[in-house]
Each structure stands twice: as C-alpha cells, then as structure tokens.
C-alpha cells in the first residue's frame, strides 16, 4: 500500500513540484540569458546593477509585475481576457510531464538512500525499480509524442483568445497572424517528427532516447533534414525572430498582448519562454539523444560519462536555446505572407518528402534484416 502510494502519488508529486520550480527558474533566467547574450552580441553589457551582473534582474522583473496594476480594458471580454494567458501558460508546463531529463533509473540511488530509513528493503526495491518513481521524468506515456503535439496546440488558443478578447485592432491582427502561423507550422513540425517515429517505432519519448542509445547514434545523424525542419518550425511555433509575426513590435506594437499589463502580461511572457524550453527539450530528446552523452556506445569516450545524464540534457537544451537567442540577435523579420509561403511551399513539401524517403529506407532496411 505504502509502496503504491509512493510510486504513484508522492514521488511523482514531488517530481512535478521540482519540475515546475526548476522550469520557472529556468524561464526567469532564460530572460536574463537572452538579455545578456543579445547585449553582448550588440556590444553592450546588459543588466549589470541588479545583483552581480544582473543576476537578480528576473526576480525584480517578476516582483514588479506582481505589484503592478492589472488593467482590463473597458471594452474587453473580462473572463476570456483573464483566461487567455492561463490557457497559454499551462500547456507549456504540461508538455514537460513527458519530456525525459534522464534515464529511467536516474533516481534509483537517491531514492534507495532516502527511503532506506523509512521502509523495509524489499519495499524500497519495489519502489526503486519502478521507473515511474525512479525515472528522470514525470511520467512515461506510451503516446508521449502525440500528447505533446495535442497539448501544445492548445497553447495557441490562449493567444487567439487573448487577442480576440482585448477587443482592439492590433491584438486582433496579432491573434490572426498567430493562429495562421502556428497552425501552418504545426503541420510541418508534425511531419518532421514522423521520420523519427519511423525509425524509433515508438511514441514514447523515453523509448526514443533508448533507441538512440541502442543504435549508438543520435537521430540527428539519421534525420538531418527533419532536425533542421524541426528547429525552424520550432522557431515559428514559439514566435521567435525571424518568425515573431504575432507580436512584431515594430509593426503591431505588441501583437496579441498589446493590451495586457502587469501579471497577465508576465504570464504570456513566461509562456513564450516556456515554449522555447519545451521545443529545445523536445529537440534534444528527438534528435540529440536526450540525456545521452555524445556517441553513447564508443567505449573510449567513457570519461564523458563523468557528467551525469541530467547535465547532458541541460547542456544540450542550453545550447539550442543559445541558438534561438543568437538567431534573434542576427536576423531580420520575415513578412507575414513570406512566412506562410515558406511554411506551405517549402517546409511542408520537404517534410513530406523526408517522410516518404525515410519510410522507403526503413522499409528497405527492415526487409533485409
């Protein structure tokens, strides 16, 4: 009884708590990272005075938003106006429930030590060997990928509703752009994943990583086109430059969140960065071997194993996020129609072709062996 409670309730709850906390912290410091990196790209220093090299800046920003007046415009739809940012933020967090940070036995050591004081050894054994408790993830859904795709599309609703409920023209245009952009890039994004699915033969993210371990190679090497596509579509999905149409500051003032202020605005802000982390985490998992070290099966690279799996995951996510920021500091913005053209006329056909080619190859190889 106690074991079941531990496995299915207490430990997952703890993990969820930790994930939410870590993720919130990561979001906060991602904003700082972005400011610092872009500042240095632009020959500036970025935040320097608030804490050592601006380390307390995100905390100050967050607190300020909390203490700010929260305006609901007179002609806005108050209920939906409030719901918008929440709908947008929750899926961003929810997605992380299936993204694995580490192998299924990541927490075994810690758990067995911690539970050793409380429980008899056989119960500890029972808890520890169950991957739901000891895995480096909140849960391992066998349809994980599907779950992610469906949940993350809900996030768009938050943007659309927020833009619509503001009852103002710029947010309206921003919301329209957002819906069109996200829907069209969602398609290409989905297709780019299929190549991976074909090879891994699983929708579970944990198994996808394990397959990469088994084959000894990251899927980036097998599916380079899909990886690049995923990255680009990921930029578009998260409304990052050069695809930041929905909130294009110099065109639509703030896009869908023009009318938002105070804490509600900060929720949108957080959702955007949470989505960035999600996409980076997904990309790491699908194409860059998740928690695996580079070349997991090459024995003379054993020293790379000194760095724990969780750290490998973080490093990869960090690097991808850095790439996001770097691109923001370098490229101009697309125009809306160009963006749609690229989406439908280039990325989608390429993704489709990639699926067909990979399917043929997989079929050929499996036929042989």
């Amino acid at each position: 009884m106690m074991e079941t409670l531990l496995i299915y309730l207490l430990i997952p709850a703890l993990k969820i708590g930790v994930v939410v906390l870590v993720l919130s912290g990561a979001i906060a410091y991602l904003t700082l990272l972005e400011r610092k990196v872009i500042a240095h790209i632009q020959v500036r220093l970025g935040p320097m005075r608030v804490g050592w090299h601006g380390l307390l800046q995100p905390i100050a920003d967050g607190l300020k938003f909390l203490a700010k007046e929260d305006i609901v415009p007179a002609r806005a739809d108050a209920l939906i106006f409030t719901l918008g940012p929440i709908i947008s933020l929750i899926p961003a967090f929810l997605v992380f429930s299936v993204v694995p940070f580490g192998p299924p036995d990541m927490l075994q050591g810690i758990l067995s030590k911690a539970l050793g004081f409380l429980l008899p050894p056989e119960s500890v054994e029972q808890v520890v060997t169950n991957s739901i408790a000891s895995g480096g993830f909140v849960t391992d859904l066998n349809i994980g990928l599907l779950f992610i795709l469906s949940v993350s599309s809900v996030g768009i609703l938050g943007v659309i509703l927020g833009g619509w409920a503001s009852n103002s023209k710029y947010p309206m245009l921003g919301a329209l752009r957002a819906s069109a952009q996200m829907v069209s890039y969602e398609v290409a994004l989905g297709f780019s994943i299929i190549g991976v699915l074909l090879i891994a033969r699983s929708l579970s993210l944990v198994q996808i990583v394990e397959q990469q371990q088994a084959s000894g190679i990251w899927y980036f090497a097998v599916q380079p086109v899909a990886a690049v596509l995923f990255f680009i579509c990921g930029l578009a999905e998260t409304n990052r430059l050069p695809f930041d149409m929905p909130e294009a500051e110099t065109e639509l003032v703030g896009g869908f969140h023009t009318e938002y202020s105070g804490f509600r605005f900060s929720l949108y802000f957080m959702a955007e960065y949470a989505n960035m982390i999600t996409i980076a985490g997904l990309m790491t998992t699908l194409f860059f071997g998740g928690w695996l070290q580079p070349f997991p099966n090459v024995s003379w690279l054993w020293f790379l194993g000194v760095i724990p799996p969780f750290m490998w995951f973080s490093i990869k996510v960090f690097l991808i996020l850095y790439g996001f920021i770097w691109i923001r500091g370098t490229l101009p913005r697309f125009r809306f129609d160009q963006l749609m053209q690229y989406g439908w006329k280039i990325f989608l056909p390429v993704a489709l072709a990639n699926v067909i080619v990979s399917a043929c190859l997989v079929w050929l190889f499996t036929l042989r062996g």
Binding site: R35, L45, P47, R49, Q57, D61, K64, S261, F265
Partner: protein
C-alpha cells in the same frame, strides 16, 4: 470608518515589504518606446552601446503603454500631441512614472509659440525633470537614477504616489 487609522501606519512588516517592492520597481523600470523630437535621438543613444540603459534594468523599451512603467517625454510637446500624451499616460498601469527630458518638455524650451505646450507638467504629473537641449545621455541616466531614489521612498500604504521629500 471605524478603523483605527494607526493600524495602517508604518510598521516592521510594511517597511520590509516596501523595501522589497521598491527594490523590484526601481530595478525594473521599463520605459515606453516613445520619442517626440531631438531628445528622442539622445534617448535612443542611451539605449545603445556606449551608454546602455539596460545596465540599470531599464533597457527593455516596451512599445505598448500597458506594459511600461516609465514614460520619458523626450522632446517638444505640442498642443496636438498633449492630447495624445494624456491618453498614453492614462493607459499605463499604476505605479507609473514620468521623466520630462529636455527643456522643451519641461518648460517649452526655445519654442514659445502658438503650437507648443509650455511644459508637459501642465497635462501630466512629472517626477523628474532633466535640463538640457537636448540633455546629454549621462544626464538621462542620472535622471533615471534620481527616479530610482524617488521610488525608494514609496510605500505600499499610499495608494497614490509619494511626493518626494526635500
């Protein structure tokens, strides 16, 4: 009212909260992307590499008044524009601050004519005046720092903004 007014006087709790909230507010002054004339160019220079207002946490220029804490009136305020500035000011969420940058927005500057408003403080309250035509970027930075000092004296007990003492 029936409530003892002393209940809302300064005490340990409120002063601590004050200091935390004030610290957050002064460390994260997001100005509005809003320029009027010559001073706006200097304001841009303050945001750029050599001066870099972002160092003080005040570098994120928000285009929407709803998301900004600070409006820098940088340039001559004409009567036609004064009307707009009033609306913009009202659109900003509390607490909000105003810096009047340069002679024109402070007192009308050299443009004592039919079309210009002789000082933006006639239409919206101003926290910090910066002299100069246009002020040097350093002057604007100093103005922002003075505003931070002013924010430090705020208290959450006051609904309205505090008048700076001395």
């Amino acid at each position: 009212m029936g409530i003892d007014e002393r209940a809302f006087q300064q005490n340990v709790v409120t002063t601590t909260v004050d200091s935390v909230v004030n610290w957050a507010r002064k460390s994260s002054l997001w100005p509005m992307t809003f320029g009027l004339a010559c001073c706006a160019i200097e304001m841009m220079a303050v945001g750029a590499s050599r001066f870099d207002m972002d160092r003080f946490g005040a570098g994120i220029f928000r285009p929407s008044p709803r998301q900004s804490d600070l409006i820098i009136i940088a340039g001559t305020v004409t009567l036609k524009m004064a009307e707009v500035i009033q609306v913009l000011y009202e659109q900003m969420p509390d607490p909000k601050w105003v810096i009047s940058m340069g002679a024109c927005s402070s007192v009308g500057g050299p443009f004592d004519t039919y079309a210009t408003l002789q000082g933006v403080d006639k239409v919206i309250p101003v926290d910090v005046y910066i002299p100069g035509c246009p002020p040097r970027p350093e002057a604007l930075l100093y103005g922002v720092m003075r505003l931070q000092d002013k924010i430090d004296q705020m208290s959450i007990l006051d609904d309205k903004r505090l008048v700076v003492s001395s």
